[in-house]
Amino acid sequence: EAGVAQSPRYKIIEKRQSVAFWCNPISGHATLYWYQQILGQGPKLLIQFQNNGVVDDSQLPKDRFSAERLKGVDSTLKIQPAKLEDSAVYLCASSPSLAGYYEQYFGPGTRLTVT
């Protein structure tokens, strides 16, 4: 079974530039998550999708971050404009469903450096 795919793996941009990350979840997984992980901390949920609908985006800085999951499969996360404090690893995860008890499967992450 193929895992969660993310690209790019690394990105370096200057502040005020824009950047986009892509995620393809495990086939058939209805729930998709985007996390931000700052060095030395645990992952922080940015947005959670169930199919193509948003379940939770309470911690997404909506003035600069946006995300979409068209057709309920792959997803993109965009930052525009980037700030220095956005430097982090952005993790995408998926799970089969919101119902029941399921673990989350993570992609390798995208390491973003904002200079």
Binding site: G42, L45, Y101, Y102, E103, Q104, F106
Partner: protein, 112 residues
């Protein structure tokens, strides 16, 4: 904050020894999950324990859950150098849309 808290923050042991990490949380949970993160394999799920379970095993891993104390522990027996990683507990809070709340993690170093 609803964040779980791991203890200790860092742990260094010799190969073959056991390692114990603890996690405390604040509100009622559906389940609690432990994950491992290292540079080679990223963030990987280890064990999920439901709120009505008290203990689960998986290979050299043993997880306990005490809902009265709102705490969990992860025991790694006969540790190996390959167990060197950060370990996170993540709690699925009741009525929280299956959103996991993550702790800061325990950094484990297993010395050969």
């Amino acid at each position: 904050s609803q964040q779980g808290e791991e203890d200790p923050q860092a742990l260094s042991i010799q190969e073959g020894e056991n390692a114990t990490m603890n996690c405390s949380y604040k509100t009622s949970i559906n389940n609690l999950q432990w994950y491992r993160q290292n540079s080679g394999r990223g963030l990987v799920h280890l064990i999920l324990i439901r709120s009505n379970e008290r203990e689960k095993h998986s290979g050299r891993l043993r997880v306990t859950l005490d809902t009265s104390k709102k705490s969990s522990s992860l025991l790694i027996t006969a540790s190996r150098a390959a167990d060197t990683a950060s370990y996170f507990c993540a709690t699925d809070f009741a009525g929280n849309n299956r959103k996991l709340i993550w702790g800061l993690g325990t950094s484990l170093a297993v010395n050969p």
